[in-house]
Symmetry: C2
Subunit: 128 residues, 2 copies
DNA sequence: CCAACTGTACTAAGCATCATAGTACAGATG
DNA sequence: CATCTGTACTATGATGCTTAGTACAGTTGG
């Protein structure tokens, strides 16, 4: 369910949060769905329970997850809404990136084509 | 010449490297140009000399800067070439971003317009 | 009821990175 | 020769990430 890259400079708990958001946006997780318990996910990923807890509490704080003591954690009703708002605010990141690549010599048409193929999911252009 | 954001999560020496790259790409710094000495820039920015040195040695390692013991540091001949290569490799970042924003509900036309205005330098659309 | 699960809280330790402080040495220069 | 230059080194403090271990309260199925 989750893929952790131990070599990444991104903290493990942050990787969990990011992947959780994508699972919700892609529809694999819906409001009300139960999440693995802190301890079971800990055993599954070979990660300390405290680290899982840190990710879960962060997701709870953002309104993406509902923690119910004694019962478990569930995808919150507001999850999709919250995540969409956050990600759409990334337009400033996109602007930054485009400006950098323009400075580096990228042509406008080149960038537009890149966006189109990424949006359409063109496998031949996507890297990695 | 350099603007350091002490509150940023990005390390100071990394901010220096990033800004140095942009100064070269924008043409404000050209091959052979002298850089401020480690100590003078340290006094100017109120940053420890070791931190400046860390940025300079990283820029030297990348082929963006030439360090000459006893004389000073100068913009390397390969600077522009090296930086352009690096930044143009950011196309995978752009692809990631577009995919995320698509999942979040952004329309293709919306993204294309964003790229165009960022490329043209439209002040009314650029944020911050 | 109770054993086994759930989330949660807490302390302690190890580790890495960043930044600072201070000292030192060799090369270049006017 | 004084003063600049880059460079190297040790030591220290602060912060963040992760692990380890313990503990407590709520929930649930047998």
């Amino acid at each position: 369910m989750f893929q952790i890259d131990a070599l990444s400079r991104v903290p493990v708990y942050e990787q969990l949060v990011d992947q959780m958001e994508k699972l919700v946006l892609s529809g694999l997780l819906k409001a009300g769905d139960p999440m693995p318990s802190v301890r079971s996910l800990s055993l599954d990923l070979l990660i300390n329970p405290n680290t899982i807890q840190k990710a879960y509490s962060e997701l709870d704080r953002r309104g993406i997850l509902m923690s119910v003591p004694g019962k478990g954690c569930f995808v919150a009703e507001t999850a999709t809404e919250v995540i969409r708002k956050k990600i759409r605010d990334k337009s400033s990141d996109l602007i930054e990136l485009v400006k950098d690549m323009k400075l580096a010599g990228a042509e406008l048409e080149e960038l537009l084509a890149l966006v189109r193929s990424a949006y359409e999911g063109n496998k031949e252009v996507c890297e990695r």
